[in-house]
């Protein structure tokens, strides 16, 4: 199986550590990952903002770039859902483009989903797996016990994965995973919504941070780069000490594939 990493432009700019973690976790599970270097942006910003023709051009690119692979994996729940749910609607039924993006949709997965549904990995056994080229860092004697919360990207709803991250991390032994009250409510990011309605977006983000604080968690795992940037940015502005990471990083750290920064 040839597996390609779908990096997403946002993660390349804002969260390269999430991408590294994705590669390390996949390798830990015995999956060698390739990275098509021509990939750029999936077109979500255009698609969400009334420019479907622009989005279609990028969707077509994506389908070409990832054509040689059997599976495409990304740490971003939101970009994944765009490929899965939205690409087909950009092209006429029966067209070649439509078939190409449908083929891409059928093999694109969010990381945790890929591990759980495609590889069929029982998270409890993750620790036992070892992989050839992963562990450059020495596995820690004990993994993190920092209390953490999980906030799933709303777009995971569309691919029926909303609410699946926390149980997976819990079962994988990612430390003290605490239930986040009202997890189902959007964090207020919403792409350009965050700058079009900044007050509403901020109010929702603050509510999310308040819920995190109520659990005593010091780390928040957010399954989308945009949500993570929004919540981390809010916390930073308000001088709230909160580490915001991706599920990939949470897994990589707990498996000893990555060091937890001091």
């Amino acid at each position: 199986m040839r597996v390609a990493l779908f990096t997403t432009c946002l993660a390349e700019a804002l969260a390269p550590r999430a991408l590294k973690a994705t590669v390390l976790v996949l390798e830990h599970c015995g999956v060698a990952v390739e990275m098509p270097t021509a990939q750029t942006c999936c077109g979500q910003p255009m698609l969400s903002n009334g420019l479907p023709a622009d989005a279609a051009r990028l969707a077509r690119r994506m389908s070409e770039i990832f054509a040689p692979y059997d599976a495409v994996v990304t740490p971003s729940g939101s970009c994944c859902s765009v490929v899965r749910e939205k690409y087909a609607g950009l092209f006429a039924e029966g067209s070649r483009d439509r078939a190409a993006v449908e083929a891409l949709a059928a093999k694109t997965f969010e990381l945790v989903e890929f591990l759980e549904t495609k590889l069929g990995i029982d998270p409890a056994t993750l620790r036992a797996k070892t992989c050839s080229r992963a562990s450059t860092a020495t596995p820690p004697a004990t993994t993190t016990t920092a209390p953490l919360n999980c906030h799933d990207a709303c777009h995971l709803r569309g691919i029926h994965r909303h609410g699946c991250t926390a149980p997976f991390l819990k079962a994988a032994g990612c430390g003290d995973v605490r239930d986040l009250p009202d997890m189902a409510q959007c964090c207020g990011f919403g792409g350009m919504f965050s700058t079009q309605f900044p007050e509403v977006s901020t109010a929702l983000g603050e509510e999310k941070l308040a819920h995190v604080a109520s659990t005593g968690a010091s780390t928040l795992v957010a399954s989308d780069t945009g949500c993570a940037a929004h919540l981390a940015g809010l916390a930073h502005r308000k001088n709230v000490a909160l580490r915001v990471i991706s599920p990939a990083e949470a897994l990589a750290e707990s498996l000893g594939l990555m060091e937890i920064p001091a």
Binding site: M35, G191, P198, E199, A229, H236, R237
Partner: protein, 502 residues
Amino acid sequence: MNELIAPALPFDMKPRAREAVRDLKLQQFVGNATHLKDTQRGGIFGRDFGPDYDDLRTVARDTKQYALDHLDELLERFIANAEQSGAKVHAATTGREACDIALDIARAHAAKSCVKSKSMVTEEIGLLPAFEAAGIKTLETDLGEFILQIDGDAPSHIVTPMIHKDRVATAKSFVRELGARYTEDPTELTMIAREHMRGLYRAADIGVSGANFLLADEGSAVICTNEGNFDLSVGGPPVHIVFVGIEKLIRGARDLAPFLKLLARSGTAQPLTVYTSFVRGPRRAGEHGGPKEVHFVLVDAGRVGVLASEKRDLLRCIRCGACLNACPVYRKVGGHAYGSMYAGPIGAVLTPELERAQGTASPGQPAAGLTNYPDLPRASSLCGACYEACPVKIDIPKFLLHDRVRLRAQGLSPKSEARVLALWRWLAERPALFRLAIGAVRLHARMLGRKDGDGERAWLSRAPGPGAGWTQSRDLGIATGESFRDWFASREPRPKKPGGSQ
């Protein structure tokens, strides 16, 4: 009409949204009530239907869609059956026409007073102001609507109209408007309203209501309420007028069950509303109660136009309010921020669409639609909670995206935004340049950002250009260390494979 739900057009949502976010009472009342209802909705469906819930929604969706697809036929059948039972059926193309029909009926009976139970369509067509202008004193008999009426306020939720108010406000207005003694006890407050209304029911010349469903087979209307006020308004006055949008038609009682199972559970987490009432024609010979005349006013007001558009799914809506309760934005901005009696996710798509369809329906008027509500399609994070909550599976986010395309095509969304996105797309088709652009962003952050925390990121608290809206309330953290691509390339070399090159 109240400018809260019928504002000056084009409507600017942003100031109202900003104000609402700062309104601590609104945050508390609307936030608590919507969260509670949303949680209870999940609970009751889980308990009562478990995994079958989704099938039930599919049945409801398909049943309603079938009705919409056969609306002509069902309308004919409804009219024939309703007339058979002695009711009079009127068709109104516009809201104005619907009001005129009612005014004619009122005039024929020299009506001076009216008792009205809750109805969205009468809000939509402005019946109450039309009645008041004609000197017909109209009493809202739904408790929430009554409180709003005496306060000169407007509904902010399609099921719980006074969701933005609390008991204290009610107590104060009862003292002020009804001369009642101050009490915050809900039972006592209800009794005060009841006392005030009872006599008025008996004295009223006309009763007015909406309807939740129209049954074509039976020629009757189904009205779901919790307070019994509908039954009083239909039982007291000699004339009753049911106003109803034509999209409320279903085949008949045989199709009603899934909707009754879904409606109250979705809206208020009740297995059924307290009353499920049927209106079928006037009092028959030998019957002691009921109106002597029953009128059905079938309202188009843009619905035919919606039916012919790609947004026809919106007409499936049974006005349960679940999407409002589930919506993070509604929870923060409340109903009045939407500038329409239809608030929240469904309102954001339905309001401009009805407006557009009506514009097309009346010759000489421009098809305004989104021109009048340019903010509504954008006031959403596209989180999908509305779609998940909707008992008839209306894909509201899809229609919001539709409208965003239209906004763009009509030049109603900011040009600056379009330029940024066009540049982004142009770069995205040129991978080398795109990487350079990402590199430039990272360099910008490295040079100007503050390094703190884990030292992995540099933080900008003032981003240029399109980032400015972001940094109004948030810092922007950008990883400045080794790029992912450099890291990936620096690992042990591997044979190049096709598809991996540019």
